[in-house]
Symmetry: C3
């Protein structure tokens, strides 16, 4: 994604990219550039935009997202945005890691020591899913527990807050509004502020398209309203 090449098809878009996007939205203080980088990676991976992902992986590294975090984002989104989006992302970020001299020992191990499980919250989640999904898709219930909530979500190299940001960004990007409630609540439990959540929506207008951002607003609103703080 070279700005010169964009200009060959649309000088206007090259201008908007500079003025409205990079000098505009990316500079708003309501969300750090590091967090914006994570949100952007999540949107691109969810949409399978591997060309742009090369540029934005470099950009994320330059803005303080670590190789370990980027690797975990690709892994996480294999589950939350479709397997082959995750593998394509892993392959793509791998090429950027190679280009930057980031070696295998700087990536999260395949099987690290996991964070400790919040047993009560997990039992509550498992019970809800068992009741709702169990009679229809027992295989899905099994994998959701064993692979996602008792393994993937406990991997230590992406903080729970950031893992939730990635998940919420993927849900907004793919228009999966029904499941935002649970995950946005979890994100805020893990430290995401209202201002940050709000600005995620505004930022995603660019990377997921204006219609997705507008459709996310009432869902985010209803999550905010159900929370005391």
């Amino acid at each position: 994604m070279d700005i010169k090449d964009v200009s060959a098809g649309s000088p206007a878009l090259a201008r908007y990219e500079e003025e409205a996007l990079f000098q505009g939205a990316w500079q708003r203080p309501a969300l750090s550039q590091r967090d914006r980088s994570i949100v952007t990676l999540a949107a691109l991976i969810t949409r399978g935009q591997t060309d742009a992902l090369v540029f934005y992986t470099r950009y994320a590294l330059d803005h303080g997202v670590t190789p370990r975090e980027i690797s975990e984002i690709a892994t996480h989104l294999a589950f939350y945005s479709g397997w082959c989006n995750g593998t394509a992302a892993a392959i793509t970020v791998g090429t950027v890691f190679a280009e930057r001299g980031i070696a295998a020992d700087q990536l999260p191990p395949a099987s690290p020591n996991l964070l400790s499980l919040d047993q009560a919250a997990e039992e509550q989640r498992a019970l809800t899913v068992e009741q709702m999904v169990g009679p229809i898709a027992p295989g899905l219930v099994e994998d959701t527990g064993a692979v996602l909530f008792r393994d993937l979500w406990l991997r230590p190299d992406l903080a729970p807050r950031d893992r939730s940001i990635v998940t919420v960004a993927a849900l907004i990007t793919s228009g999966q509004f029904v499941q935002i409630g649970f995950h946005l609540g979890r994100a805020m439990d893990n430290g995401l502020t209202r201002m940050e959540a709000s600005e995620m929506v505004s930022h995603l207008a660019y990377y997921a398209g204006w219609p997705n951002a507008f459709s996310a607003v009432p869902v985010v609103k209803s999550v905010f309203e159900t929370r005391a703080e």
Copy 2:
């Protein structure tokens, strides 16, 4: 997208493409081939199908869509279908422009003189969005006004009717039905006829998939019902 290559995987699909699509749907008089080209470009860009976009950009040029219009379509969809779909489209149409000897001075300038704003309609729109979105995503409200409705939508090289067609086509293609009401109404205010709007849905069955076209029908129906003409 060479028809010979399609045939290597599916001789049947090559036949359908010839008979049902190009000799069938594309020939129906309810929508001009020029407008069908615009709708098709919007669908492909929204779906990130840059390979097919090369073929259909040439096709659009052959059917009277101007380079200026094509450039504006890519620019517009950066906002309405996700930024990196827009930049990928700009890069792709740029390669076709080069191949056709279309020079930079045949493209819209980055900052042209804008169409005049319908102050009353814009104030009404801004008020509605402020009330609905303002408390949740103030950054989104700001960009929607300053960048979209007071800038992008006023660019002169794509007629308001055509800009609305592009927007509605993108919304149908991405299954964003909630926002079709506003934009289809706007398209019809700007001159799109019922017959043309209907045939857009039928045309998009091919390029956005049958399920999206069927899902669009009740939404289009309700827009038609709320209009006097």
Copy 3:
């Protein structure tokens, strides 16, 4: 999609692919590996993931899906997941056919003898669509009858049960839940068991993403509830 390349970006994802996906979900007896291959191809084509499609086309051939069936899947999804997903898929599977020495005479002819039409069911379907869609999009009604239900669906080289599986998988993958009812009912009329339908959802959690699988559950549940068996 080489597992070594995935590992370069995420050793963890390479592990999950081996343990959770190929040694896990793919081995569950509730759905045959042949059917899983069909479901997976449908998901990848619907998402436009042509890189992964190369790997999974080989995999499908190795698990007993015939070249004729694979060709028909690409053809079918041109209509159900957007034209250029179908043509891109046909081109991609064509390269795998060439690599495997599968010649043109092993593919379905462009115009085979069609299966016989269930006249009563087709009249009922046509009537419903005419009433619902006719006043809004007559072109769509025409093509849905002449091209889809009186031609595509009657092509003999993909069994009606399998054609329905492909359709339902595409609808779940693209989040088109409104239309699953009709097509899942049809799939079960054509021999898909409850256990197989359930496991399709669990399998698609991987290839269409967890959120799509979860969103499909209540829809599948309501279809199960309306059926006597």
